[in-house]
């Protein structure tokens, strides 16, 4: 118990000197991680390894939703030791993806890992001989069952990924998703690029549908490392952009689900409504996805009182049309029938695989960084999380609608109670000096769930490691589980109800 009390804990958007992070023996590391993750309020936000001289340093960050802090633990695997460790995944399945990543990047063998397979075939992987076409799929030798392979290129305007179904007739018994096709070397580029504006652009391009989520996490990480103070107004502007991003993507997703239920009126109207939101973002910063809006240290596009008037007008119109259309769509028996009881993920399953964000909330798990680890914006303007119980496609469909309403209410409250002051704006600052030998972590609740950026600096204050985690990393497994025992023709509605990121996963 003593050991648990002496764990280093930091807040979201806080940094810590590397020497303060105690390096434990793997046995201690193992037992403390198990002890922590047994509790429902704790979950792993990132777990990675990086080269420190020849050795491998492991860092795990475990967020505590009750105490609103993050435990940081570490251990070192010496180069001269055998590169293998006892797998944590056999006890805590949610860690499977992190151990797989470390296995793939550094060739560390995790003993008794149930599913030790490559994650994304990065260019700097340990085993260059293994190619993306050699992925070891799970298969069954059976006369009755057949396999269906889909992708990497899909029948639509969508990113690439390979899906392998094992089916009994029309029924799916098992789905395995192989990603990595989108790998662009993002994390390595954060280190290669020396100018902070280039890094800022890179963060913007991690996932084009989560521009604000990722760029905010990046900016907060760098500002934390540089002790750069940000005004409340700037925090609120970023949060406003984040909520607009959420409304836009959720609206688009509802429309996309209508397409798959062959409800064309809904598909078209929700598509139009999404346009209204992203066109407002364009009016604000010149880009429909919010690229160029979030910059480290400040912004070129401060929110103004004039924009406030435009925004409130747009939202009033949006809300009217949205409610009218939603009222029809969500009551339509053919839509309900299509989505109800399909692709259910139970609370137990969701906890097991460690889903985050909307994918967790649809199975009655309260997980929301805005509430559990809020920054100034959400401390001053609190947000109340909503959860649903059923965990099926309809639950995800419904939750998107409910979250849109909540976000609009949050924005209205902000607009009513905050005066945006044009004199109070901060310009971007790319010349930030980062503190040497520090680690900083930033969590942001983007529309899919928590985005986590973690940066480590060397003795000169330059980045020595940069780790990005998109919520999709946790949630792809939930999509696989959703497909168990449903018809293969239900794949599209399941896939769209999650709308997970390929490039965010592949980096």
């Amino acid at each position: 118990m003593n050991k648990l009390d002496s764990i280093l804990r930091i807040k979201n958007n806080q940094s810590v000197e590397l020497q303060k992070i105690e390096t434990l023996t793997y046995a201690d590391f193992y037992s403390i991680v198990l002890e922590l993750l047994k509790k429902e309020e704790n979950h792993c936000v990132t777990y990675f390894a990086y080269r420190r001289k020849d050795d491998l340093q492991f860092i795990i960050a475990i967020a505590d939703d009750k105490n609103h802090d993050i435990a940081i633990l570490s251990h070192i695997l010496k180069a001269r030791k055998k590169q293998e460790l006892n797998s944590l995944t056999q006890s805590i399945f949610a860690l499977h993806i992190f151990e797989r990543e470390i296995y793939e990047n550094f060739g560390v063998n995790f003993i008794n890992h149930p599913w030790q397979k490559p994650v994304r075939f990065p260019h700097n992987r340990a085993d260059k001989k293994l190619q993306i076409n050699d992925y070891p799929f799970y298969s069954i030798k059976s006369e009755e069952l057949h396999e269906v392979g889909v992708g990497p290129i899909h029948a639509g305007i969508i990113e690439p990924g390979h899906f392998r179904f094992i089916c009994n007739g029309e029924n799916v018994l098992h789905l395995e998703i192989q990603l990595g096709w989108q790998h662009r070397g993002v994390e390595q580029l954060f280190l290669n690029k020396k100018h902070n504006l280039q890094r800022n652009l890179l963060a913007e391009n991690i996932a084009g549908d989560t521009v604000i989520g990722h760029t905010t996490a990046f900016a907060q990480t760098m500002e934390t490392l540089a002790n750069k103070q940000i005004s409340e107004q700037l925090h609120l502007e970023r949060a406003l952009a984040l909520e607009l991003e959420r409304i836009a993507v959720h609206t688009g997703d509802i429309g996309a689900l209508c397409v798959d239920a062959a409800y064309h009126l809904g598909a078209n109207v929700f598509g139009i409504l999404r346009t209204a939101i992203i066109n407002f973002t364009q009016l604000w910063c010149g880009n429909r996805f919010g690229k160029s809006l979030v910059r480290m240290g400040g912004t070129h596009f401060p929110f103004t009182e004039d924009l406030k008037i435009e925004l409130l007008q747009m939202l009033a119109k949006y809300e009217k049309q949205f409610e009218e259309m939603a009222d029809l769509t969500y009551r339509l028996p053919s839509v309900q029938n299509r989505f109800d009881f399909v692709g259910t993920v139970t609370k137990k399953q969701a906890q097991l695989v460690g889903t985050v964000g909307l994918s967790a909330r649809m199975s009655n798990i309260v997980k929301d960084i805005r509430v559990s680890h809020p920054n100034i914006a959400y401390l001053n303007f609190p947000y109340q999380t909503i959860t649903l119980k059923k965990g099926d496609v309809f639950a995800r469909f419904l939750l998107k609608k409910k979250e849109i309403r909540k976000s609009i209410a949050w924005i209205r409250n902000l607009m009513e109670h905050f005066q945006f002051d044009n004199k109070n704006t901060q310009k971007p600052d790319y010349q930030l000096n980062l503190k040497p030998n520090n680690l900083a972590i930033s969590l942001v609740e983007a529309w899919r769930g928590e985005v986590c950026h973690c940066a480590i600096t060397d003795e000169n204050g330059d980045l020595s490691h940069y780790k990005v985690k998109d919520p999709s990393m946790h949630n792809w497994k939930a999509l696989e589980l959703s497909l168990r025992n449903v018809e293969i023709s239900d794949f599209p509605i399941n896939n769209k109800s999650y709308n997970l990121s390929y490039c965010g996963n592949d980096l």
């Binding site: 700097n124 580029l189 280039q198 991690i206 549908d209 139009i272 009016l283």
Partner: protein, 247 residues
């Protein structure tokens, strides 16, 4: 039924009647204009995170530009972004804007293959391949066909199979892992076919240019028919580019 009719009535006409002449509002950043004002040239070049600005004469390569606008903020008297969204071309060098020459982006009509206009002038079916795209260009390609931009009215649509397609639209910097599948998809399209690069990542690699994880060797032996700049490309840029190429 009455409720449905009400929804349609309340939403009104949503399509943009003339996609050729839309007035977009600032701060939307389209074609840049470079004035003849003297500035610290080295500082101007250094400000661009993607190396899109070069010297003698000062020129600006939209194929490398992420339209972040940093240059215009630092040198407002030198560089100004207009709201001109018709910035696609069939020639790579036509995407380069030079100092003092404030012309519209040109299409080299002579260079367009005869069969492209003849075959695809009234109907063009495209296959989209994302090869490391970040899902913003992909979303905009989808939006080009929605109720607002309605590209389908010109007979331009995206198809599921390359066998049914007349060409390929690539987004993303072309990752090493997608180079093979992209080649297979391209080969599966029957002749005649077009090859389109959409977005800064596809045209030049963008912020990923120096990454070891990308493989752009496919561009060595395929002739590109259309370059659509942007980060991501605006649906209006996409629709106008495709129209200029095929009719």
């Amino acid at each position: 039924m009455i409720k449905e009719a009400k929804v349609i009535f309340h939403n009104g006409k949503q399509y943009i009647p003339d996609v050729r002449n839309v007035k977009l509002k600032a701060p939307f950043r389209g074609r840049p204009e470079i004035s003849n004002v003297k500035v610290d040239e080295q500082a101007l070049i250094d400000i661009c995170p993607l190396g899109a600005i070069s010297l003698n004469p000062i020129s600006f390569d939209m194929g490398k530009c992420a339209f972040c606008g940093e240059c215009a903020f630092a040198f407002p008297e030198k560089i100004k972004f207009t709201q001109d969204y018709k910035i696609s071309s069939n020639k790579r060098e036509n995407l380069i804007v030079k100092e003092g020459e404030n012309n519209f982006i040109q299409f080299d009509k002579e260079a367009i293959r005869l069969e492209v206009k003849k075959t695809f002038g009234k109907s063009l079916k495209l296959r989209q391949v994302s090869a490391g795209g970040d899902n913003s260009c992909e979303t905009e390609l989808g939006a080009a066909g929605n109720a607002n931009f309605d590209m389908n009215r010109y007979g331009i649509e995206f198809t599921a199979s390359p066998r049914h397609a007349d060409g390929i639209v690539v987004t993303g910097p072309i990752t090493e892992n997608m180079a093979g599948p992209l080649r297979i998809a391209y080969d599966a399209i029957p002749e005649p076919k077009i090859f389109v690069l959409c977005g800064v990542d596809a045209i030049s690699g963008g912020v990923f240019t120096d990454s070891e994880a990308i493989d752009r060797s496919i561009l060595k032996d395929i002739k590109v028919d259309l370059f659509i700049p942007g980060n991501p490309s605006h649906p209006l840029t996409i629709v106008n580019g495709l129209l200029d190429l095929t009719r």
